[in-house]
């Protein structure tokens, strides 16, 4: 479901003397249905960068990234939006809070964007918030004032509200206590069981071992390494 071959990435900082920062070269991997693959490597190895390229958040300048058949390198904005609506889910490392929008609504949004009935979407959102132990008194307020762990759980609820065929998870268990961590690992295992292809970043090796089938070391795709 995710097919990546020979992907390269560099940043050009035009306003800092045009410095060119090559950060990735020759990155290749694949993730099949029902499989969970972990991206590993030291800080700065490019784990989040690759994930952002798959999400379409960073531009892919070199190589090929295919998700459920769509080539993301050079894709039209419209096709990426459609992929995000129906196929590709992403749990980012931090929740982007929107003032005035209540937690319940933030969680339900991916379903509403797909045109699912509001009642059904909100019911599923309540189930997930409850499962992730977010106290009911917080559901109707904006997560602006939530703790880091609470925000992260809202983010996870949002990420798991839809049965995405392909999922990207950036540190889904960071800043969670043991009980909530276990809930998240269960959600991941359930998604795998229904056939989702998952690519994740887990600093927590216990979590990684519990849910991942394989590891891909991003350190192998650092630009110097590939040339040598």
């Amino acid at each position: 479901m995710i097919e990546i071959s020979d992907v390269g990435k560099r940043f050009v900082l035009h306003n800092q003397g045009g410095v060119v920062l090559p950060v990735m070269a020759g990155a290749s991997l694949h993730v099949g249905r029902g499989e969970c693959v972990a991206l590993t490597g030291a800080s700065g190895a490019g784990k989040s960068t690759l994930m952002r390229m798959i999400w379409g958040n960073y531009r892919c300048d070199e190589g090929s990234i295919r998700v459920a058949g769509l080539e993301l390198c050079g894709a039209q904005a419209r096709d990426v939006l459609a992929l995000r609506r129906g196929t590709l889910g992403y749990v980012s490392q931090f929740l982007r809070v929107i003032p005035r929008v209540p937690a319940l609504q933030i969680v339900a949004e991916p379903l509403l964007a797909q045109g699912i009935e509001e009642d059904a979407a909100l019911m599923r959102a309540r189930d997930l918030l409850a499962r992730l132990n977010i106290p009911q008194r917080l559901w109707s307020i904006s997560p602006t004032t939530f703790s880091g762990g609470e925000q992260q759980r809202v983010n996870i609820a949002r990420g798991f509200i839809q049965d995405w065929p392909v999922m990207l998870l950036d540190e889904p268990t960071a800043s969670l206590d043991a009980a909530n961590r276990a809930v998240v690992l269960d959600l991941i295992l359930e998604a795998k069981a229904r056939g989702a292809a998952i690519l994740g970043i887990f600093h927590d090796t216990g979590a990684r071992d519990a849910v991942c089938d394989r590891e891909v070391d991003m350190g192998a795709f650092l630009p110097g390494r590939a040339a040598a």
Partner: protein
């Protein structure tokens, strides 16, 4: 699917001075496009060319009309353009005074748009006006007051109700949150965001505020000196800007 709006090679000069030059893009149904850039970069010029307020010197603006399919609005008659402006299009001005009739009641401001497209039944018009005032969070008890008595944020919400009551398919907005306090802006943005999603509207929003495009726009176009320097998915353009000017724009604001 047919694009809702296709802008092809649109240019507008003011004498020798370039307003906007050779702008091309396609807007699909349900998409929200943001236009950002510094003051004087040609954002309003471009928007006004698209909305039929200004005649471009060159280029086509093809809109998928309800009745006759894709038509070039630049070459259609003035009467046809005016009809589109009352039905399929809406235009939200930065200054609510430019989009409202200040000596007509709030209810009248909304009802008037309905009457312009042929509504005649007083009770229906009043009921629809009331429904729309509710949707933009204006208390029904204030329906008979004139907008003069309203705060800037309320006037702006009234302008939005007046514009959306006829069920337009494309909304043009020029700095819709421009003159408002930050907290009032947040409320308005939240309202716009909800309406755009619930009604499946397409919109083109001009703003110099990157937080506004981050929140509302699927795609964004960056203008400088009348030219489009970069366009694409909103989060990609903001998080991985390619052009020097976009990088400057993004780095000169605190995290958006």
């Amino acid at each position: 699917m047919t694009p809702l709006l296709q802008v092809e090679g649109v240019s507008k000069h003011y004498g020798a001075h370039l307003g906007c030059g050779d702008v091309t893009f396609t807007l699909w149904p349900g998409e929200v496009m943001g236009i950002v850039g510094e003051s004087g970069s040609g954002k309003s010029t471009l928007l006004n060319c698209m909305a039929g307020h200004l005649a471009p010197d060159a280029g086509r603006v093809v809109f998928d009309t309800r009745m006759h399919g894709p038509r070039d609005t630049v070459t259609m008659t003035e009467a046809e353009r005016r009809w589109l402006a009352r039905t399929d299009w809406a235009f939200v001005h930065q200054n609510p005074r430019d989009g409202l009739r200040m000596n007509v009641s709030a209810g009248g401001n909304v009802g008037e748009r309905l009457m312009a497209v042929g509504a005649r039944h007083y009770g229906d018009i009043r009921a629809q006006a009331q429904d729309w005032l509710g949707r933009v969070e204006i208390d029904a008890g204030r329906m008979d007051e004139r907008p003069r008595a309203f705060s800037g944020g309320m006037q702006q919400r009234l302008q939005i109700a007046r514009n959306l009551v006829t069920g337009p398919r494309l909304v043009f907005m020029d700095e819709p949150t421009g003159g408002l306090d930050v907290s009032v802006q947040a409320r308005l943005l939240d309202l716009l965001r909800g309406l755009v999603r619930k009604l499946g509207l397409s919109a083109v929003i001009v703003t110099h505020d990157l937080a506004v495009v981050r929140l509302l726009a699927d795609r964004v176009m960056v203008m400088k000196d009348g030219r489009v320097v970069e366009q694409g998915l909103t989060d990609q353009v903001l998080d991985d800007p390619q052009h020097a000017y976009t990088q400057l724009l993004v780095s000169s604001v605190l995290q958006v």
